[in-house]
């Protein structure tokens, strides 16, 4: 193990190390902690200039209620859910089929198709912007959640396909052969044998795609206008303009926007990390 494990250190340095951990953590997360404390500060206290002293009065409930009910925040939040959930399901459904095809059928051009999926995912999204915007306009989906969903499904499919194709390739091929001998059709093979086996990979991907789509700002700006279909990232950015001096409310809004991805990350850490570090130890 590198570095030398602490239990082999001298007691002094071990103590210093352990004491340094919470300190480093507080410094690292200072911006976040400060935002959290500000979100609990009352407006009149901020007006009087008490930005950094300990809050005299905690206005947690009051601030979050204002954000939720006196601004369209709840509406944005709902939009974000309506966009994110179908995008996750759609891209994973498409990618598991494509990944299965690329992993099990050795046809000509197999590798090139995979290459296109991967390359497509790394292109600067700006190069897609104008045509995708025009396409969405032509389909009559501009400023609707459906327009955003379709784009996210298509774009996330590239990365998911690579991930699932590699995962399926690692499965014992004998399983597939056995199922075929038993007389399973290709579709049954996919549904009954492959899907249950790749469930952990699907979970890891679902969480990753969820955070990617939930945090998207660029496409929300390009494909929506006004409040109708705008997700929470747009809503939070707008809060800054709406309440220029009410930083307590802006902070509360930001934390609300961050909440789902943070909760999902902490709840499903193992899957999240497995998905993210996929490939980090190979090659």
């Amino acid at each position: 193990m590198y570095p030398t494990p602490v239990h082999r250190w001298s007691p002094m340095s071990r103590g210093v190390y352990k004491a340094s951990l919470p300190l480093a953590l507080v410094i690292w997360l200072l911006p976040l902690i400060a935002v959290f404390i500000t979100s609990m500060r009352s407006t009149d206290e901020l007006m009087r200039g008490n930005y950094w002293g300990w809050p005299e009065r905690f206005a947690l409930v009051e601030n979050y209620r204002t954000v939720l009910f006196s601004s369209p925040m709840l509406h944005y939040f709902l939009n974000s859910c309506l966009i994110t959930v179908p995008s996750v399901i759609g891209s994973i459904a498409l990618a598991s089929m494509a990944g299965f095809a690329l992993a099990t059928y050795p046809f000509k051009g197999n590798n090139s198709i995979l290459g296109v999926f991967v390359a497509g995912n790394f292109v600067p999204i700006q190069v897609l912007m104008i045509p995708v915007r025009q396409l969405t306009l032509h389909l009559g989906l501009f400023n609707t959640v459906e327009g955003l969903i379709l784009f996210h499904i298509a774009f996330q499919t590239g990365f998911c396909t690579l991930f699932l194709r590699n995962f399926i390739k690692e499965l014992p091929y004998e399983l597939i052969e056995a199922a075929r001998i038993e007389g399973a059709s290709e579709w049954q093979l996919f549904c009954r044998i492959i899907l249950p086996l790749i469930a952990p990979a699907l979970a890891a991907l679902a969480i990753l795609v969820f955070t990617f789509v939930w945090n998207d700002y660029f496409w929300a700006l390009c494909l929506t206008q006004g409040d109708d279909a705008a997700p929470i990232t747009v809503g939070v950015a707008a809060l800054k303009g709406q309440w220029t001096t009410a930083w307590n409310l802006v902070s509360a809004g930001s934390l609300l926007a961050a909440l789902p991805s943070v909760v999902i990350f902490f709840a499903m850490q193992k899957h999240f990390i497995a998905g993210l570090t996929f490939g980090a130890t190979k090659g």
Partner: protein, 315 residues
Amino acid sequence: MTTAETRTSVSSGSPADSSRPIGRSSGVGVSAPLEKKRKRAALMFLLPAGAMFSLYVIYPIISSIVLSLYSWDGMSDKVFVGLANYNELIHTDTFYVALRNNLLWLVLFLLAPPIGLAFALYLNQNVRAMRLIKSLFFSPFVLSGVVVGLIFSWFYDPAFGLLKVIVGHGIPVLGDEHYATFGVIAAALWPQIPFCMLLYLTNLTSINPEIIEAGRMEGATGWSLLRHVVLPQLRPATFMSVVLTIIGALRSFDLIAVMTGGGPFDSSTVLAYFMYDQAIKYFRYGYSAAIAVVLFLIMLVFIVYQLRRLLRTDR
């Protein structure tokens, strides 16, 4: 991936396989109708993803390249102008500002892998609650760019920001054309560092401990052990974090949009933001497509590099 490859070649090469009616290799041992059925199945499985991807990713790339040769405001007819958009671009000062800022992003963003490595080495210990500590260190990565941007705009605020409290006097970081880009990059590093840290942590746990012990036996300690024994073992993580950091740097948009809007006086703009600005504010679709194509060409170098490695390890 290597194991999968070995397994495949063993199974298709074994003598038992050729006598079996069903095998993975195309042609040998598979009857013609079955072969045809398989091909059709492969096509059906690929079709939905392929269609969506072509429509929303492949076609737009080509369409952008074509559009960059036209002058178009989104409403009236497109007018073919050849390379005029590119010509105008290379005579625009903002283009060079954006290009310089992109380079600055690239260079400074590459601090993320080494700092991430330092964090990973610092946290790679088994003490109580380490899992929670690692997760908390990692948490900035799951925040959206908009939230990070808001947090830092407020951190930098010259009237009451935390930075003012720390240094004692207000510095208008985001309002000063010399500091704005640095301020935004610093904010962007906050989520990027833990991402690199995570890649290194995962790689560190996968190193064979015997290699490290052998290094120690040879008398290597501390720095030289890290440099000659550990770092070569961490190459996969280094590769991934460098490539993804470069791509992240070239993609930077959210933070700039939220924190400075490219200002003051376009001083903190990058190609990605410049392009967006031209399209959304000025409706110069052809011109902004040209900017996007330039960005695409710069990124293509890294995409090809990443792709070649990916397909190589696959073979």
